[in-house]
Assembly symmetry: C2
Homo-oligomer: 118 residues x 2
DNA sequence: GTAACATATGAACAGATGTTCAAATGTTCG
DNA sequence: CGAACATTTGAACATCTGTTCATATGTTAC
C-alpha cells in the first residue's frame, strides 16, 4: 500500500493541510460508532420498520403484516435495531411491543428527507 | 410466506392499526432512496472521507494520505459519494479537488453524533 | 510528440449482510 | 399440566459491498 503511494507522497500531497486535518479527525472508535448508527438507516427493511414505529408502537406480528414480510425476518431486524438503542420493547402478555427509544429516529429521518427533496 | 402467518393474521394482528399505518407509509421508492442516502454514512471509509471534507476541500491523493489508504480505494468511494450528490468535484490541473456539495453532510453527521453521546 | 504525474476504472476476491427455514423459548389459558 | 400462540434464535444460503491489483484515461511540462 505504501509503495503505491511513494510518488504521490513526494509530489502531490500538501503537507500542511494533510497534517492539520489528520489531527482534527475524530478517533477511529467514534467514526466506527457513527457509521454503525447510520447502517441502521441504510437498509430498506429497517427503514420501513422505523417508519412504522414512528406512527405507533406495535407487536412483531403487526409489523410483519404491514410490511408483508416474514415474522422471522422482522424479528431479526428488530434485534439489530434494539442493539443500537434506537428502539426498545416491553412484553405485554404473549406479545412483545416495540417502540422508538426516543426522538432521534424522527430527526435523523427528517434530516435525510431534506437532502432527498432538493 | 403468507402461509407462515396464517395463524398470526387471524389471531394477533390488530386490523385497525395495521390498516391505518399501511396507508401512512411512504411509497417504496422514497424509502429506498432514503435508505440509499444513509448507506453512504454507513461505511467507515466514506464517513472518514466526509469528515475530512468537512475540514477542507481536497485532492484524492491527500485524502488517501490522511486516511492511510490506497488512492484507488478512495477514488472508488468518492465516486459512490458523488453519485449520491453529497460531494462534488472540480478539476485543477492534474488534480481533482473534491468538496461537500452542501451543508447536509454536516447536519446529518451532527444529528448522528447527538444519538451517540447520550 | 513523449515522459511523468494524478485520477479513474474494471475484474476478481473476501468479508459482511439479509432472508429463509426449522426448531427453541416463553407466555397464556383451560 | 398440555395445547396454542407469539416471538426468538441459529445455521445455511445467496447477495451485496469494499478493497486490491492491473491497467486505462487525462493532464502538464518539456
Amino acid at each position: 500500500m505504501a509503495d503505491d503511494m511513494q510518488f504521490c507522497e513526494t509530489q502531490c500531497v500538501h503537507e500542511d493541510i494533510v497534517e492539520k486535518v489528520k489531527k482534527l479527525l475524530p478517533d477511529e472508535e467514534a467514526i466506527y460508532d457513527l457509521a454503525d448508527l447510520f447502517k441502521m438507516f441504510g437498509d430498506t427493511t429497517r427503514m420501513k420498520i422505523m417508519y412504522v414505529l414512528l406512527e405507533s408502537e406495535m407487536c412483531v406480528c403487526d409489523i410483519a403484516e404491514i410490511l408483508g414480510m416474514t415474522q422471522s425476518a422482522i424479528s431479526h431486524q428488530l434485534r439489530i435495531l434494539k442493539s443500537s438503542k434506537l428502539i426498545t420493547s416491553r412484553r405485554e402478555g404473549k406479545s412483545v411491543i416495540y417502540f422508538l427509544a426516543d426522538d432521534h429516529v424522527r430527526s435523523i429521518v427528517n434530516q435525510g428527507m431534506e437532502h432527498i427533496f432538493e
